[in-house]
């Protein structure tokens, strides 16, 4: 009896935390369909805010920038990061610890430091802020995540498979494509998807390296919030939440399949 009471209390507590985590998001989504523009009273269901969003040139422009930057940076970071993970898994070399820390530090230092240091770099070498600087910055913060995810996948990988392929005369490139890549592919895709969500959601670093003509959606939302709460922001946020959710579901499925 006492135990079941404790269990009930535990379940109730977990429920409260989930409520804390999800209620604000649920309310945000609900209000994106509310007719009332000004206050929090529910006045009726509407798709108006979504329609307006697709008529808003600036928002569409920002959506385009976000997608281009996310796609380009994800592809580049995935290639560089996957190669790095394989290289670091396969070889011992001088400076490995240094490279390790260079890949580890970006994950733990405050993002703002990375943002302003990139801004300082671009302004010192006179590269105008825009698509290029955004993409370069996003590649930089995505690489460490990809390396982590792909290396986790490689952890359970039997090296003797690679050695067998090499002994049978395969070149390192053939070994990589025919033996290593199929094994790490789910990790690579999961890493790429996570890099993609990081890119479309990034606020802090983009804030410093985006130019006037290259506003991303989170930056657009940031400036919209500063002008005040509007139903359009609710609708835009809802759409972004849905995209993130889809990507994370796919990525998690790939990650969970590791044991299969």
């Amino acid at each position: 009896m006492r135990l079941s009471l404790g269990r009930k209390a535990a379940l109730f507590y977990a429920f409260l935390i989930y409520l804390f985590l999800y209620a604000p998001i649920a309310i945000l989504i609900t209000y994106s369909f509310n007719q009332s523009k000004l206050n929090a009273v529910w006045t009726g269901f509407t798709f108006d805010w979504y329609v307006r969003l697709f008529q808003n040139g600036e928002v569409l422009e920002a959506a385009k920038t976000t997608l281009v930057v996310a796609l380009m940076s994800t592809i580049a970071a995935t290639v560089i990061g996957t190669l790095a993970a394989v290289g670091m898994y396969r070889y011992k070399f001088r400076g490995k610890t240094a490279l390790d820390s260079m890949l580890y530090l970006p994950l733990v230092i405050p993002e703002i430091v990375m943002g302003i240091s990139l801004l300082a770099l671009f302004s010192q070498i006179k590269i105008p802020l825009g698509y290029f600087t955004l993409i370069a910055a996003h590649i930089t913060f995505s690489i460490p995540y990809i390396v982590v995810v792909v290396r986790a996948r490689l952890d359970g990988f039997d090296r003797s498979l690679e050695e067998a392929a090499m002994d049978l005369g395969a070149t390192p490139w053939q070994t990589f494509v025919k033996v290593t890549l199929p094994v790490i592919a789910p990790g690579v895709v999961a890493g790429a998807l996570l890099a993609f969500t990081l890119s479309i959601d990034d606020v802090i670093i983009s804030f410093f390296v985006a130019g006037p003509g290259s506003t991303t959606l989170p930056l657009k939302i940031f400036s919209m919030i500063k002008f005040g709460v509007t139903p359009e922001i609710n609708a835009l946020s809802t759409l972004m939440l849905i995209v993130t959710l889809i990507v994370v579901i796919i990525a998690e499925r790939l990650r969970m399949n590791k044991n299969v």
Binding site: L28, Y91, L103, P110, V113, T140, I143
Partner: protein, 304 residues
């Protein structure tokens, strides 16, 4: 004769002996040089650059000029800026503690839930972890503002006549920070609680320990790596999240992240902004070293 032997030695030199090594070195070079090059150019050099800039003087046009000085650092130790750092650290510390106090039992419950529910419960933590923190902050503005959901509910229910001021103060910033950072605390806690060998607890119970004794003497010490990792993952980023104080705090709540942002974008004092960033970096590295010392986690594996 000589003319003919030379190429053959060159040929054998190229083909027989390095044949074993050359392709491997080539592969090593191709896998590792892009990342080294990229991270050097876009991570290491920029960091060194702001270290350098932090010793320059601000020019009248907002650029940087000679002479070299340590004035940017000494200036930070003025009472005004030290107070900002102090308030920032207190707020981040409060965030960390609240996340730990609320997150630990939560992580414990998930880790001890039946296997078939565990993945879905865990997944429900991972979603907010990856969700845009700006959008999550905005959701709270929607709740807390004067015409917001909470005030509307309270007034319509007749509990209050005037809306409460829930937004634009340090309380709102704290709510925003805890909300944003909670998943970062729960995930490492979960990982370390789940790893815990249950037989220790059974042994303790067999030897007559009460459940709370078993918790303080066994569970808590053995999950310290998770606690420290989670605290680090909450404390460090919350120092730099400038948009939460920007959007939810009052005009007075300038935190260290906002100070850096303002130096770069509004005040255009790059040397001072760089110096503050370096101080923030140093503080972060100090935390990481302390973390590695306390947990013996040399590669920071628990953090990832």
């Amino acid at each position: 004769m000589k003319m003919e032997t030379l190429p053959t030695t060159a040929e054998t030199g190229l083909q027989s002996q390095p044949k074993q090594r050359q392709p491997r070195d080539w592969a090593k070079w191709w896998t590792l040089s892009p990342v080294t090059l990229w991270m050097t150019c876009f991570f290491l050099i920029p960091l060194l650059l702001i270290l350098l800039v932090s010793f320059f003087t601000r020019s009248s046009f907002g650029g940087i000029e000679m002479p070299l000085t340590i004035e940017n650092y000494t200036r930070f130790f003025d009472s005004l800026y030290i107070k900002i750092l102090w308030v920032s650290c207190l707020l981040s510390l409060a965030t960390t503690l609240l996340c730990l106090v609320f997150g630990y039992p939560f992580a414990y419950i998930i880790a001890r839930s039946p296997q078939r529910y565990r993945n879905i419960l865990l997944f429900l933590i991972i979603i907010p972890f990856w969700t845009n923190s700006l959008i999550r902050t905005y959701a709270w503005i929607l709740l807390l503002r004067t015409e917001g959901v909470i005030n509307t509910l309270l007034i319509n229910a007749g509990i209050f006549e005037q809306p409460l001021t829930l937004l634009y103060n340090n309380f709102a910033v704290l709510v925003g920070l805890v909300y944003t950072m909670l998943p970062f605390m729960v995930l490492p806690l979960y990982a370390s609680i789940e790893k815990l060998d249950k037989s220790y607890l059974e042994a303790a119970a067999d030897l007559g320990a009460k459940p709370w004794q078993a918790f303080w003497k066994i569970t808590f010490p053995l999950t310290t790596p998770g606690i420290v990792a989670g605290s680090l993952l909450v404390f460090v980023p919350s120092l730099g999240l400038f948009f939460i104080p920007d959007l939810m705090g009052g005009s007075k709540s300038v935190l260290i992240g906002n100070l850096i942002k303002n130096q770069f974008l509004t005040a255009r004092d790059w040397p001072f902004g760089s110096a503050v960033s370096i101080i923030l970096m140093a503080l972060t590295l100090l935390c990481i070293v302390a973390y590695m010392r306390t947990t013996n986690d040399k590669q920071g594996k628990e953090l990832l």
